[in-house]
């Protein structure tokens, strides 16, 4: 009844040959020129953040009140903030939290989202209906609202907003992965595993998951950009990371007051770094997404 025509076979084969050629491709090939640049920049930022204790010229929390709001100088490359803290050092330390917070959000959301998606795709029927409905409800509520609710219950802190946002990001991952998993589920290789007598769990984790993995990664990276912005926004509102901890969102806020006093460096520098991080992550995410799509 449903024997595919030789054409569709040929077309599918060509696509798969492109995919197989992809196995041998280098990372640079996969990301393209712009993607490679973005990855390079992001790598520098991540390394700087990881090795902040070594890289940062000053203690980010040490207030040199006598040198407050000094402009860029050889001693302080980006100057100091209102409390006389070195802005460059705070940027480097701030990047740590600005990357780690959203990273944690996406990690939690991805693990839960993938499990829900795979479960829904395998069981279909009622389980799928319930999970899809739940995801739609979550999807309808802006992430920042979840952050606010979490703050309202547990009070402002990084852990609180991370948990709140993680729930909000579950549907971003789960919806895409569910669609991909449903597609894979209809592939003959999955039928073959089913006919071999492999268990549902076995098929889900050894057959379907490895084949949707590129989509999982692409979706996670793409969502990371949004999470960076939303977490920074929550910190800016004073609901996330609490002072005096260095965080880019907080720096935009504290720098905001200095702008009025004619010292825009802190706000601009922190804002610019957020933009750069988000740009890098988004470019890489887009590229990974189009790669994952072309594998189909």
């Amino acid at each position: 009844m449903t024997t595919p025509s030789t054409t569709s076979l040929a077309v599918a084969r060509a696509a798969r040959e492109r995919r197989s050629a992809g196995f041998a491709r280098t990372t640079a090939d996969r990301l393209g020129v712009v993607g490679s640049i973005a990855a390079g920049i992001l790598l520098v930022i991540v390394l700087a953040a990881v090795f902040a204790p070594i890289v940062a010229p000053y203690d980010p929390d040490y207030p040199d009140l006598l040198a407050s709001l000094s402009g860029p100088s050889p001693a302080h490359l980006l100057g100091t903030d209102a409390l006389g803290r070195d802005i460059l050092s705070r940027l480097i330390w701030g990047a740590r939290i600005t990357l780690a917070g959203p990273g944690l959000v996406i990690l939690i959301a991805t693990v839960i989202g993938v499990l829900l998606a795979l479960f829904a795709a395998w069981r279909r029927g009622r389980a799928d209906t319930v999970i899809t409905w739940l995801l739609d409800v979550l999807f309808a509520v802006p992430g920042i609202v979840f952050g606010l609710i979490a703050v309202a219950i547990w009070g402002p802190s990084l852990v609180t907003v991370v948990c709140g946002l993680a729930i909000a990001y579950i549907p971003y991952v789960a919806r895409v992965v569910r669609g991909a998993a449903l597609r894979e589920r209809n592939m003959p290789y999955v039928s073959a595993a089913w006919l071999q007598g492999q268990s549902g769990t076995g098929i889900t984790f050894t057959q379907i998951l490895p084949n949707v993995q590129p989509i999982v990664i692409a979706q996670a990276v793409s969502s990371l950009g949004f999470a960076v912005i939303e977490l920074a926004a929550l910190s800016f509102l004073g609901l996330g990371v609490q002072p005096p901890t260095a965080d880019l969102g907080l720096m935009v806020k504290s720098g905001f007051d200095s702008v009025l006093r004619g010292h825009p460096t802190e706000a601009i520098a922190a804002g610019a770094l957020i933009v750069v991080i988000v740009w890098c992550v988004t470019v890489i995410g887009d590229r990974l997404t189009s790669n994952a799509r072309s594998m189909r």
């Binding site: 025509s5 030789t6 054409t7 569709s8 040929a10």
Partner: protein
């Protein structure tokens, strides 16, 4: 001796790759005269479809093409965009394996058939439709007027392939390029579509380049056959089917199971170009 309608002389297509070249067409030469049918036969990867794309200059820009392709005495490789467009739309008609991939699913069959006539040739819409109806009838489509108002998804594969044949005939080309036109069809539909193609082609004196993996089918519908293997034509002529001389052709013919007799084991292709050339060199 009249000039051939289509002439390929030592056509090579090379794909530039990182760290080297890959020659996918390796000195392909053949001629098709007006009104003649040539069957280009080969297995997947032999280069038969690349050859058709080279003829219409539709190869990916990554290919470097050398040699000469001439249509009616004009070099195809030297054509400018306007000439190329005219050549593709009026001189050559193309029929593909999967007609569904080559029709716009949201356009009605009638629009698909008459569009080119109305837009490119300035034929009056009603006149174009009249011609389409006549042709659909000739290719054996029942109720042609009604078909014009239907969408491609309402037609079966065999019927849609007949519509494709009609659309090619409407353009009144001199040469039809048919790339595996019946591979996606059932055997009875295949027989039917090939019969129509053959009959219409002969009635109009059109030349045909028939690309297929099926030697038997090609032999039944073509005056001459050319057998391709790894980018080369290993053997061509009217004798190929009945009295093949090249070992690859002989083995390819033998490997296909027969409907008339069953053999204990099917002969397996052992042909390999390097070994063959080695043996040839030793013999001479």
């Amino acid at each position: 001796m009249t000039e051939p309608l289509l002439m390929l002389d030592d056509v090579r297509a090379t794909l530039r790759l990182r760290g080297g070249h890959q020659t996918l067409l390796d000195g392909v030469s053949f001629e098709i005269h007006a009104g003649e049918a040539l069957g280009l036969v080969g297995e997947s990867g032999s280069g038969k479809s690349l050859t058709t794309r080279a003829i219409t200059r539709m190869l990916d820009p990554a290919f470097r093409v050398s040699g000469e392709i001439a249509f009616d005495g004009t070099s195809v490789l030297a054509m400018n965009q306007a000439a190329l467009r005219r050549y593709r739309s009026t001189d050559v008609g193309m029929i593909f394996q999967d007609p569904r991939a080559h029709v716009n699913p949201v356009h009605r069959v009638g629009d698909f058939l008459t569009e080119a006539l109305v837009r490119e040739r300035g034929v009056d819409r009603r006149e174009a439709e009249r011609r389409a109806v006549v042709l659909l009838d000739e290719v054996g489509v029942r109720n042609p007027e009604q078909r014009l108002r239907q969408y491609p998804h309402e037609l079966s594969g065999g019927l849609l392939q007949r519509v494709m044949i009609a659309s090619v005939l409407l353009a009144e080309p001199k040469l039809i390029l048919a790339d595996e036109p019946t591979t996606a069809l059932d055997v009875t539909a295949q027989s039917d579509v090939m019969a129509i193609l053959d009959e219409q082609r002969r009635a109009r004196g059109l030349a045909l380049l028939f690309i297929t993996h099926d030697l038997e089918l090609a032999a039944a519908c073509c005056d001459r056959l050319a057998v391709m293997y790894a980018g080369e034509i290993v053997e061509q002529g009217a004798h190929v089917y009945h009295a093949p001389t090249h070992p690859y052709t002989v083995e390819l013919l033998g490997a296909r199971p027969s409907i008339d007799q069953r053999v204990d084991r099917l002969p397996v292709l052992r042909y390999d170009r390097e070994t063959h050339e080695l043996l040839k060199a030793e013999a001479s």
